[in-house]
């Protein structure tokens, strides 16, 4: 494992029409690091996360994943040119993503959901894909739900299945977009537990979250965002103990009470 950062973001800017939602974001994520992104709604956290695997196109700056530019090719004279569908897909396949609304495929069973990526994208033989899926589903505690359709699962079960689906691609990093925000409070714990065990195994994770407990206990560093900018990026001890920025302090005061 090299020491070079796995994810490198430099001067990232993104607008929806006239509204600038990301205004020059730069940071790095090391291999094995867990980065939590917090901040008020509308601060651009989710958009930033979606730029990392190019679900959102960005207009300026660079996102690099494992040394490769995400979404664009460097053309002549430094001009950036949109990359091919295939190349973008290849990079996305190396980053697992977990969504707020789970987004399981409703027409496929839990097992089929988890097998889909390896089978279709990686061309893994069916038996191997199924073995991989069964192992992962056992790990997230869903081995008895293998044949069920997503509509029959609770939110917590769906989200755990979605994590298994992302892990089935054996990604180098996992992106979590408010993974517990759509869950009933009593179901949050089971999802956080799975995420915590992933972190303990050394998975590189970027987690947009409102769960301050998770950010404090599991994250190596916490990024506080507001108005499309990084307000503060520091270890949780500083963010939660002695924030440098008054905006961080103000935000935490509001969410922690």
């Amino acid at each position: 494992m090299s020491d070079a950062p796995l994810i490198k973001v430099n001067g990232l800017r993104k607008s929806f029409g006239k509204l600038e939602v990301l205004r020059g974001i730069s940071f790095e994520v090391k291999r094995g690091e867990v980065l939590a992104i917090i901040g008020p709604s509308g601060s651009g956290k989710s958009t930033l996360l979606r730029c990392l695997n190019f679900l959102e196109e960005y207009q300026m700056g660079e996102v690099e994943f494992d040394g490769a530019l995400v979404g664009y090719q460097r053309g002549k004279a430094g001009r950036m040119k949109l990359d091919s569908d295939r190349n973008i897909g290849r990079i996305r396949a190396r980053m697992g993503m977990v969504f707020q609304s789970f987004n399981l495929f409703p027409h496929k069973t839990v097992l089929e959901n988890v097998m889909e990526g390896p089978l279709v994208v990686q061309g893994v033989p069916r038996a191997e894909a199924e073995g991989r899926a069964r192992t992962l589903l056992a790990r997230v505690g869903l081995i008895d739900k293998i044949g069920a359709y997503p509509a029959r699962l609770s939110g917590g079960q769906q989200q755990r299945a979605a994590i298994a689906r992302a892990l089935a691609m054996q990604p180098a990093a996992m992106l979590f977009d408010e993974p517990t925000s759509a869950l009933d409070p009593e179901l949050v714990g089971e999802v956080l537990e799975v995420m915590q065990s992933l972190a303990a195994e050394g998975m590189t994770m970027v987690v947009v979250t409102h769960e301050m407990g998770f950010a404090r206990q599991v994250a190596d560093r916490v990024m506080m965002m507001d108005h499309g900018e990084i307000v503060e990026l520091a270890p949780p001890a500083q963010i939660f103990g002695a924030p440098e920025s008054p905006r961080t302090a103000e935000f935490l005061r509001r969410v922690l009470h």
Binding site: L55, M97, G117, A166
Partner: protein, 221 residues
């Protein structure tokens, strides 16, 4: 009601109805094939990201939905040959005309079906590394098709009924055969009744099937 129904004469001419029904089915099949293939292409174009694909499809759909099919059929049969120099036979003209017309409606069904699928589904497919085609085939279309079935069957029934307009181009489909028969037998009531029943018998199974499918998919979620 003093009318005396006379069915024996109709029975004697049963071959005419069979022939007409066959012609109707053949016309339906060809028109359906054209309508579906072109409709799928147009529907995908309408859903495309780039305007170069989206606009022509939108113009096509608007033109065919904004003009009467009878005018389209007559135009294709009489006007198109003069403009293009290609004279199609009456059956071909009817099949092409009805097909082109239905394509506009099928396209809208495809487009609406695709658009009805939550964006999170394509996000999830993309995040696994799927390309546009893979995501469409494996994730979006299988879900969209289920929502398309009811309007699709509806449009199919409409299409089969539209084939009766082939009579205007002297295509010997069911209605045209029936009209010829009436000229011989002077039994319009019996003849039109049989035509109505035959259409009902040909179309109803599909309506039944669509309801069954809808029910089955609903229970599975």
């Amino acid at each position: 009601m003093d009318y005396i129904w006379q069915w024996n004469q109709i029975w004697d001419y049963r071959q005419v109805f069979v022939r007409g029904a066959q012609a109707t089915l053949v016309l339906t099949c060809w028109a359906l094939l054209i309508g579906l293939v072109l409709g799928l292409v147009l529907g995908l174009m309408r859903s495309a990201r780039v305007a170069v694909l989206r606009l022509p499809a939108a113009v096509y759909i608007d033109i065919f939905r904004a003009t009467p099919i009878l005018v389209q059929l007559v135009w294709i049969y009489y006007a198109l040959p003069i403009l293009s120099g290609v004279q199609m036979g009456n059956v071909t003209s009817a099949a092409v005309g009805i097909g082109l017309h239905s394509a506009a409606y099928f396209a809208e069904i495809f487009r609406a079906g695709i658009a009805s699928i939550d964006k999170g589904q394509s996000d999830a497919a993309k995040s696994l590394g799927m390309g546009y085609g893979q995501a469409m085939r494996r994730i979006i279309l299988p879900q969209a098709v289920r929502r398309m079935v009811p309007p699709f069957i509806n449009e199919f029934a409409t299409l089969m009924k539209l084939t009766t307009l082939g009579s205007v181009l002297a295509v010997n489909e069911l209605l045209h055969e029936a009209e010829n028969l009436i000229n011989n037998t002077y039994r319009p009531l019996e003849t039109y009744t049989v035509v109505a029943v035959l259409f009902g018998v040909m179309i109803y199974p599909f309506i039944w099937l669509s309801q069954r499918l809808e029910l089955r998919w609903k229970t599975r979620g």
